[in-house]
């Protein structure tokens, strides 16, 4: 009786959870409803987790003696894992969002892999179909775990440079083949008639080891600016792994939630790749930047440095300014100072807008969050296709810490590695100020013609320091006016 009631309760709660997840994501379609969306999804999660303890009433006879210990272990794991992640998620700086998302995503992949491992070691996937699905889920989950951890290390600065060796693709291919071979042998050994030469547990270890190594090898050569694609892919991977393990556990809530996320991750991955005008496989398998042997045509013009204060005052007397933020702004933590400066301009009657490129930053939409954190209202933030026409009628474009996303070579130079990538047409503004730390090249390793243009001035320095000087200069104007 108890077992039946608990099954019914779990079934109903999980059904509600699956609905709440989708409804919550649906509410994310607008910044107004989005906060309630995540709350709704959170309710579903809490309900599903509480209900899952009712599984205690229907455990197998073999597991029954271990039940008190297992329940205690589950509670401890929930408190430690949930508590630590909650605390870190609340504490961490918002500029560190990409690595936190990568980290939490890796944990999800690891959890899916661990569930698969329990099923495999306990021989709980009896049918051939279940075994194959378990193995595929285990593979994807493990790759997502180790790959996300490498992505986290890169984003957090633990690993500084992309690691590339000769014949990397061949090595990766071999490791992948080895993983598939081990997995195939496991299915053959379990369901074929032949006697297996290697014991099953050893095969399971070998399988997970290969999959984890593959995730590491796949992510190591990928550079920082390609991270939006990588994070999206691993998000999709974890979702897929969760969905597949959901099938093995006969849990439709896991299947639905996992597959919804899998599709979402895939969509974002394609959007990001499109924003770079590159295919997903090109991002993953080509060593962009470092290997580019691109002969650039002679560039006319010269770099014209300008003092931050002068640039600030020039913007104060402009009638319209579009600001193009890039990863450099996040690195310098300059978002608060930027909005302080913008408010000064607005107080003086200058029309200010923000133009955000889809792949600016290290994850999809990172610039939007950065600006939101500083308090910039979201109706001042415009996406590429919505604002690109406006540059030509704008007095000043202020480019802060962005480079490749405003390089006109993407429009004009057919031999350029970034040719065809949609860019922000900052060069078409009447005047362009570029805030940059030094004269270095962008991620793609190509010279930016924009910087040499007649209408362009370079403001060298750390974004935050430069903005402080701009604010001081514009405030100084008020003093003069008052005197």
């Amino acid at each position: 009786m108890l077992a039946m009631i608990s099954q019914l309760t779990i079934g109903l709660v999980d059904l509600a959870a699956a609905f709440l997840f989708m409804y919550g994501l649906l509410r994310m379609a607008s910044p107004v409803t989005a906060p309630s969306g995540i709350f709704v999804a959170g309710l579903g999660m809490v309900g599903a987790v509480l209900a899952s303890f009712l599984y205690a009433f229907s455990v197998s006879a073999a597991a029954a003696p271990h039940l008190p210990l297992n329940i205690a272990l589950a509670l401890i794991a929930l408190v430690i894992g949930g508590g630590a992640a909650w605390w870190s998620g609340r504490k961490v700086a918002l500029t560190a969002m990409p690595q936190m998302v990568a980290l939490y995503n890796g944990m999800g992949g690891g959890a899916a892999g661990a569930i698969a491992a329990v099923q495999l070691f306990g021989n709980k996937a009896p049918g051939a179909t279940e075994l194959v699905v378990t193995l595929i889920g285990a593979l994807i989950g493990a790759v997502s775990l180790s790959g996300s951890l490498i992505a986290w290390a890169k984003l957090d600065g633990v690993i500084k440079n992309p690691l590339r060796v000769r014949g990397q693709q061949a090595i990766n291919g071999l490791v992948m083949l080895a993983t598939l071979a081990v997995g195939g042998y496991m299915v053959f050994a379990a369901h074929g008639n032949a006697e297996s030469a290697i014991a099953m547990p050893e095969l399971i270890y070998l399988f997970f080891a290969c999959a984890l190594v593959f995730g590491v090898l796949m992510t190591l050569p990928i550079g920082g600016a390609d991270m939006p694609v990588v994070i999206s892919i691993y998000n999709a991977f974890t979702g897929l792994a969760v969905g597949l393990e959901g099938f093995v556990l006969q849990n439709p809530a896991l299947m639905i939630a996992g597959m919804v996320v899998g599709a979402a991750g895939l969509l974002l991955t394609l959007l990001m790749a499109k924003a770079m005008n590159r295919s997903v496989s090109n991002v993953i398998f080509t060593n962009f930047g470092a290997t580019t042997k691109h002969k650039q045509g002679a560039i006319r013009g010269e770099l014209k440095p300008m003092a931050p204060g002068d640039a600030g005052i020039a913007m104060r007397y402009a009638s319209s300014v579009i600001i193009v933020p890039g990863y450099g702004l996040a690195v310098a933590q300059g978002q608060q100072k930027l909005y302080e400066f913008v408010k000064l301009l607005q107080a003086g009657g200058v029309g200010v807008k923000f133009a955000v490129h889809p792949v600016a930053g290290r994850m999809p939409g990172q610039m939007d969050v950065l600006l939101a954190e500083a308090g910039v209202p979201y109706d001042l933030i415009f996406q590429l296709e919505d604002i690109n026409e406006e540059f030509s009628s704008t007095d000043i474009a202020l480019v802060i810490g962005a480079n490749d996303v405003v390089n006109p070579a993407a429009r004009t130079d057919k031999s350029s590695p970034i040719f065809g990538m949609p860019i922000l047409n900052a060069d078409k503004a009447k005047k362009v100020f570029v805030v940059k730390r030094g004269e270095g090249k962008g991620y793609a390793g190509i010279v930016n013609e924009l910087f040499y243009g007649d209408n362009c001035n370079m403001v060298y320095g750390d974004a935050q320091a430069v903005l402080i000087k701009m604010i001081e200069a514009v405030r100084g104007l008020h003093f003069q006016a008052a005197a």
Binding site: M4, P35, I38, M100, I115, D379
Partner: protein, 117 residues
């Protein structure tokens, strides 16, 4: 009566297909400005894997299964809690300018006046 769920073969494929379709359509409606919270929000949603972890751990028989099951719950709980915490934090920051703008302007005016005085 038995409420045990049994999903086999094509039923599973139908569930996957419909869920993937729903995910694609739902996410397609999210504007680019919300892509980061969307990503961490969907990241939170696959934290439901913790439920699978609890199921596996409660049914664990050997010490090995208990250890791996413990990590499944630990990691899954981290995924869910962390995903929720960062998404909620980010979404709370998105604000419209209408009321906010007036406020910001009056602040600046005050600053200027104060300096004049």
């Amino acid at each position: 009566m038995d409420f045990q769920i049994s999903i086999t073969g094509f039923v599973a494929l139908y569930i996957f297909m419909l869920a993937a379709f729903a995910g694609w359509v739902i996410i397609g409606g999210v504007p680019a400005i919300l892509h980061t919270p969307l990503m961490s929000g969907s990241n939170f949603v696959h934290g439901i894997v913790v439920v699978g972890g609890i199921f596996a751990l409660l049914n664990a028989v050997t010490v090995q299964e208990q250890v791996i099951g413990f990590f499944a719950v630990l990691l899954g709980a981290g995924n869910a809690a962390g995903g929720y915490a960062v998404t909620d934090r980010m979404l709370a920051m998105f604000q419209v300018s209408a009321p906010k703008k007036k406020h910001a302007k009056s602040d600046n005016v005050k600053v200027v006046h104060a300096k004049k005085g």
